[in-house]
């Protein structure tokens, strides 16, 4: 059994008066890909955004409950939220490069965390190169690192965002429908990178695509109208689901 990396414990979330997540308890094992699946509006993205405390940037969002990272509650008073987000990276559904060059996009994270001032230019160049390579983008952009990132194609932009997230050195990577805006070839490349990355880090992927879940996931959490109705290994969930709604969902009868 792999090490437990994160634990969601009796977690609730609201937008205004509307309850989005109801009493979720689940485990995120280390160095695995955990997929959060479920129909639209089931709270998948809200759960993911709770895991790096990005949810609190949304207007009217409230939470109750615990989410622990290596045993420590990330919602505990006095927690440095920037450190949490440094340790838990996020890849958004639609790529949003920062309004600067390709190089500066990757260097952004290391710079704000003081790695740019402590290290010299060569080290920064090394960080940029290795992370672009890890995201599978290096060969395509190595000759135009100082051109605007906005000029890349959508598929390239998403890999840039992956490299940018990796450059901060997170232990966990949260991916919110990371391929939903991409063509099949770009999507396949992102999936390939994720499978490769799970050797070194813990990955959580929100997806509404069951086929993608089958290809990628080691563990699956199935959300239904804000409740966790089933969680476990991918094999178990797809082959011997306990809940009749899980059965109906994976067979395509509902959702």
């Amino acid at each position: 059994m792999p090490r437990l990396h994160m634990r969601i414990c009796e977690f609730n979330a609201w937008y205004g008066d509307q309850a989005i997540l109801k009493n979720i308890t689940a485990d995120i094992p280390a160095q695995c890909i955990t997929a959060i699946i479920g129909p639209s509006g089931s709270g998948k993205t809200t759960l993911l955004r709770s895991m790096n405390r990005l949810l609190e940037e949304s207007e009217g969002a409230r939470t109750r409950g615990k989410i622990t990272l290596d045993g420590a509650d990330i919602y505990a008073a006095g927690t440095d939220v920037t450190e949490i987000r440094m340790r838990i990276g996020l890849l958004a559904p639609k790529p949003f490069p920062l309004p600067m060059s390709i190089f500066e996009n990757i260097a952004y994270g290391p710079r704000i965390h003081g790695q740019g001032t402590k290290r010299n230019r060569r080290d920064l160049e090394q960080i940029v190169e290795s992370n672009l390579q890890a995201a599978g983008l290096w060969d395509e952009v190595k000759d135009r690192l100082h051109t605007p990132a906005s000029q890349l194609s959508t598929g390239q932009q998403q890999r840039l965002c992956l490299a940018r997230a990796l450059a901060v050195g997170p232990e966990i990577l949260l991916c919110d429908e990371p391929t939903s805006a991409l063509d099949p070839i770009s999507a396949e490349r992102i999936e390939g990178q994720l499978k490769f990355l799970k050797e070194k880090m813990t990955i959580v992927v929100v997806t509404h695509m069951l086929r993608q879940t089958r290809r990628l996931a080691d563990h699956v959490l199935l959300l239904w109208m804000g409740e966790l109705i089933e969680g476990g290994t991918s094999h178990k969930l797809f082959h011997s689901p306990r809940d009749p709604r899980t059965q109906a969902y994976i067979s395509g009868d509902i959702g």
Binding site: L54, G89, A92, F96, L98, G109, R164
Partner: protein, 282 residues
């Protein structure tokens, strides 16, 4: 033809008419100042201050007013910008939808509508109170008050158009709000901020009423923050009020110079913000 199509045509015609009215009046104003101002536009006019007998149509120029206006508007825009930037960042990044933000926005909207002579009067009262006389500094203060609401509202709208997903991209890398604002939000909204600054500068350099009591008027070139300065709008006003046609013509020349300055600054800043536009995320 169906009635919906008739409506469509009617509204298209109305829109064309309003475009024609707006563009036509702009064209007429430009035509008037060019036709009446261009003949008197000489090198002497823009390189020398008024000399003996200038106001009777003799030698000299309006360099005093050109420099005065540039100093007044630049100083006021800079001062207003120093205040407007933190205010608009507060409105959009820190206090979004807070009660204070709503009050500030309402106050700025009301301030925008206040006639400039009122700003002049308020600044003048303040100057009397502290014992300051009509001066470049007084004019800068009055114009900065006039420009502040324009800047704040313009920058507020621009900062508000930055996609929240872009800010979140920065937050999720562990950046603080301040880092995100300074390194991402301001960069993304750069071209819009330039436009807001330009709008405020244009309003400031063209205003006559607020500098009338506060900056005064002089034939000398500006040399001290505490001495009176001339300005182009007042140069237009005074010269147009004289009975001599030659001097009246120079009023149009002054108006032409004022328009050219605004045009030049507008084109330069557009060119400069091109570099930022290239990086902007859509």
């Amino acid at each position: 033809m169906r009635s919906a199509q008739i409506e469509e045509r009617l509204f298209q015609a109305l829109m064309l008419l309003s475009v024609f009215i707006v563009a036509g009046s702009l064209f007429l104003i430009l035509l008037t100042i060019i036709l009446r101002g261009l003949p008197a536009l000489t090198v002497e006019m823009i390189t020398r201050p008024p000399e003996g007998g200038y106001y009777l149509g003799k030698e000299g120029g309006i360099l005093n007013a050109i420099l005065g206006s540039l100093y007044l508007a630049s100083g006021a825009t800079l001062l207003a910008l120093l205040l407007a930037l933190p205010i608009s960042i507060y409105l959009r990044i820190y206090g979004q939808r807070s009660r204070l933000s709503e009050i500030v926005r309402l106050a700025m909207d009301v301030l925008w509508g206040i006639p400039s002579i009122v700003y002049g009067a308020i600044a003048f009262t303040f100057m009397l109170w502290v014992g300051m006389r009509a001066s470049l500094l007084g004019g800068i203060l009055a114009l900065a008050m006039l420009e502040l609401p324009i800047l704040v509202r313009g920058m507020d709208e621009t900062l508000g158009s930055v996609p929240s997903a872009l800010k979140e991209a920065s937050y999720s890398l562990g950046a603080t709000r301040l880092e995100t604002t300074l390194r991402v939000v301001l960069r993304q909204s750069g071209p819009g901020l330039v436009t807001a600054v330009l709008l405020a500068f244009g309003r400031g350099i063209g205003d006559a009423a607020s500098v009338l009591f506060t900056a005064g008027y002089t034939d000398h070139l500006p040399y001290s923050l505490l001495r009176p300065v001339a300005s182009l709008p007042l140069a237009v006003f005074f010269q147009l009020a004289t009975p001599y046609p030659a001097v009246q013509e120079r009023a149009y020349t002054s108006a032409l110079v004022l328009t050219l300055i605004v045009l030049a600054i507008s084109l330069t800043s557009r060119y400069l913000s091109k570099g930022l536009l290239k990086h902007q995320i859509r």
